[in-house]
Symmetry: C2
């Protein structure tokens, strides 16, 4: 019998990993669908539904639910928090599209493309305030602090983004804020929901390492992925003059001549697709691709190791497999 | 001896009204200046300082502090909440400037004009998350709910804004969310800080009526104010095709011929300054200006009446005078 694919995700491998929390995940999806009170009309529900139905992986809710279960809690205790972390993620995507002037997201028109900057900014703000409003009770308070801090970290990281020539340290500082902070929070609030204070630290660490590995793989997919499988064009980072780990490493390891050649391609990439492709290839030849892959693998290992102190359970096993999953995904 | 002018506001009349809470207001300003932790570098502190030093009236902190005192609390108990409500206000201004593509704010370049959409959106998001993060403790929880709800209301109101031809009901629904919600919350959290649950309702009502009157006066100033005293151009609403209470009333009371004449001017206003001026004049002739003034005065009276149940005190007296102040302000 095939494994049931949760309606919450279109990624079958992820659905299988999420099996220990499948029923809670269905409930998360139901609450996500009913998030906006019925008396609220106008653009808010329309835009929210557009974003919700774009079919994300629901990776952050899955992390929160699995973490809750792994920390010995009842998965249902983390449902509201899992909803909260996903809505914060969705609202950050809406604002990111305004920031990046994106026309598409997951193969559909972006919110800003379809409804403009005004509605995008306001709906994003609405969702953040609504999430925090819902968490301002006894149960949500501690998680609210954790989640609000990760939003602060996200904004701060995006504001210090260096357009050209970041160091490896700067790269990691950026992706830690941009991606890893919210994933770390997703895992930490799972432990909080379980009422297991001693597990918050290790699950936070797990989520952070996983998030870093996830983003490195994301950046590798942008350079070397299959646009068909990804559902979006590749080489976007180079087109935007944004250099990620493989490029940073290739530049730092290359000899003077190779470095000059790569720099020339990188500088041409924003207005020359052929140069962008050649820059990605040269980066691979110079070892940047392999370096980034190994780095991601090391981080995924460290993520799994951070789970060491938790009692064995199907949820812990899923979290461990998730660390391997982020390395192998193609989209 | 002249009354001391608080460094927190450049409006002398308002400073005098704020005297019962002058020391707490100085502390609010100090904490506003030190809001961003020192380890946070980059654009966040730079942009935040730009907005903070633009010199707002600090009306919302004054409302929170006076309300706390009026509800029998120690004004110092409301300092953190007064900071929170002002930062939420400032962050909404930063996002509003992106939404409105504003080039100036209070006679200086707007954040988006100087640092672009990306930084404006992210710093606004940063500030909201930072405020909610700080409120997620035992003391701030109840206020967090109130403040988050007012942000939700603000976004919702701005999203349902009708560009042309709103009814009077729609106008009030809009300004209730856009302006009155946060002022009502400012007053309500003052009562919460005072630990006086029985005063939350009347102070909320006071703040809401005051906020409605405040916005009607704002809209009147845009039509009939002195650009020199305002520090900004007038007739902006008509230029943006945005019809406020005087216009709505004039249209509904006019006979068919006058109505057609006014509509023609209103439709020309976005691309013809002379038509905008003439539309404002005709609106006044048709009684719209007087109607809106009387409406604002009635609301200010109702605001003062909502204070009736509070024990007499200098703070209550100031709140009462504030209701009169919003009617007379010229900027």
């Amino acid at each position: 019998m095939p494994s049931p694919v949760s309606p919450a995700t279109h990624d079958q491998a992820l659905s299988i990993l999420a099996e220990p929390v499948a029923s809670a995940l269905v409930e998360v999806e139901r609450r996500l669908e009913n998030l906006i009170p019925e008396q609220i009309g106008g653009l808010v529900p329309v835009i929210y539904r557009h974003v919700l139905q774009a079919g994300g992986k629901r990776l952050r809710p899955i992390l929160a639910l699995l973490s809750c279960s792994a920390a010995g809690g009842d998965q249902s205790a983390a449902v509201d928090l899992a909803v909260a972390v996903e809505v914060l993620h969705l609202s950050s995507l809406i604002h990111d599209d305004v920031i990046d002037q994106a026309t598409e997201r997951r193969g559909r028109p972006s919110v800003r493309q379809r409804w403009g900057n005004r509605a995008s900014i306001l709906v994003g703000d609405f969702l953040v305030a609504e999430v925090f409003r819902r968490l301002a009770d006894d149960l949500g308070r501690q998680s609210l602090t954790v989640l609000a801090q990760s939003v602060v970290d996200m904004c701060q990281a995006e504001l210090t983004e260096t357009e050209n020539g970041p160091t490896e340290d700067e790269y990691f500082c950026n992706i830690r804020g941009k991606t890893a902070a919210l994933m770390a929070s997703a895992c930490e609030i799972g432990a909080i929901a379980a009422g297991n204070d001693s597990a918050t630290r290790s699950l936070h660490q797990y989520g952070e390492k996983l998030g870093l590995a996830f983003q490195i793989v994301d950046d590798l997919l942008d350079l070397y992925g299959d646009p068909g499988a990804l559902g979006k064009p590749v080489l976007q980072d180079l087109r935007e003059g944004h250099w990620t780990l493989p490029v940073i490493q290739a530049l730092s390891e290359a000899d003077a001549g190779q470095r000059a050649a790569l720099l020339e391609l990188l500088r041409a990439a924003p207005h020359d697709d052929e140069a962008a492709r050649a820059a990605a290839e040269l980066t691979a030849e110079l070892g940047g691709r392999a370096y980034a892959r190994e780095y991601a693998a090391r981080l995924a290992n460290e993520a799994a190791e951070a789970l060491g102190q938790l009692a064995p359970s199907p949820a812990v096993e899923s979290l461990r497999s998730l660390a391997a999953y982020v390395l192998t995904r193609h989209h």
